[in-house]
Amino acid sequence: MEKRVVFRSAWLPYALLAPQIAVTLVFFFWPAAQAAWFSLQLQDPFGLHTEFVGLQNFKELFADSNYLASFRTTAVFSSLVAFSGIAISLLFATMADRVLRGALAYKTLLIWPYAVAPAIAGVLWAFLFAPSIGIISYVLKRGGIDWNWVIDGDQAMLLVVIASVWKQISYNFLFFLAGLQSIPRPLIEAAAIDGAGPMRRFWTVVFPLLSPTTFFLLVVNIVYAFFDTFGVIDATTQGGPAQDTQILVYKVYYDGVKAADLGGSSAQSVILMFIVIVLTAVQFRFVERRVQYS
């Protein structure tokens, strides 16, 4: 859609765009181009000597078992976050869509975690699960579970997944609730008249009609787990124990900032950019096609 009525000026539109374009160029395009350029170079740790090495950094990355392990960790982490986050929020949203009394109160009490910074969410859950003093650790130990995420990789993964999902539930919940409320009532009434019970109606009518929302949330949650959970990880496990929770973004940070490996970190940045581009393209292309609309 385009406007028919437009204003005429030789300079004004450029002046209006200038601030946005300037910031974009200086802080987005220039650094991204530099990341691409650094990724083709090998630099000594003091930054004194730089050598062009072509694709060697990439070759080394894909031969590095740590990097491949980080890919696996990211895949496990983001699927756990996306699936459990979506399942729990869908349950809450379906229930909230049913109740008449107290709906607003439930909504308010379920959405506030959206406002909590990932890093703070990490601190809160790390405190509850702290091996020696945490209140949940205490209950787990009473129940005979030896809880210590500082040394157990699976428990560390569970901790970061719980903290990440807790923060994201509110977001998913709001979108599912909006999706549920936009489903035409006559469809559900017709199913009820045909004798379908609540469960049957949910799986054969409601859930398929929600598929655009579900698919959209799947992509958003994967992007969230890939990038926004940096704070959760840094505030809790810092990638440990023994890299068991080192997701790709954390490794870029660790290798670039802590280990000062400029070339390797930049090559990882380039791979991550590629992943984001694919995810964004998937979001734009398939949201329209694959899923069923009412």
């Binding site: 991204a32 910074a117 405190f127």
Partner: protein
Amino acid sequence: MIENRPGLTVLSHAVLMLGVLAVGFPLYVTFVASTLRVEEIMSVPMPLLPGDQFVQNYTQVLAAGSTTGSTAAASRMLFNSLVMALAISLGKITISIIASFAIVYFRFPLRNFFFWMIFITLMLPVEVRIIPTYKVVADLGMLNSYVGLTLPLIASATATFLFRQFFLTVPEELAEAARIDGAGPLRFFRDVLLPLSRTSIAALFVIQFIYGWNQYLWPLLITSEESMYTVVIGINRMIVGGDAANEWHLIMATAMLALLPPALVVVLMQKWFVKGLVETEK
């Protein structure tokens, strides 16, 4: 309600209450811990009812921070967070609204090129260009400054899209009438478009305020002086060792202070928050 099933309604309430409790539990424990002495927290299991150290602990962190970790005062850090959140949200809104105005209401060479340039920034979140962006900011001498904290984050494709979508729905007649009455583009923008955009601006403000307040990776990289810490970073700097070495009562008090402002924004401006969330993702 399609049919009356009291059993199912009871179940719904039960599930929702359980959800509310599970979601609220960490917040409750954090609050309780922020009112206890550190020895009480260390005595496993810690008490689950608030203690009497509320005033003591909060005064301590607001005035002087922790004693073993970072000594940045929470009052200063809250101020830094507020500056960052306001500068990012207002900055984003300002540069995006004028950029979308140019793209929707003018025809000029390279219009599509600029539009795509802004669009592509969606695919370059700060997390993937950490090191080079840090270098750029360091070269410009912006480390440990408010400009360095905010400027790199204020370009926003989502805000530009939101305003573009909204401007496209504004009736053509308004611009026509303005032109017939002899109003120039800036006059039209100020007197017609801005007042019409009020709710979009409010919705976007809520979302971007939270985004700015909760930034973590960026301030972590570019602030090394305690006086420039934001409160989210400050908490990280208060955690210095294992379970027993931390002053959990002070960390938890700071955590409460850090999460309350954005949580209040969400709860009190719920209508705009929901609108902003749904619209920025379209």
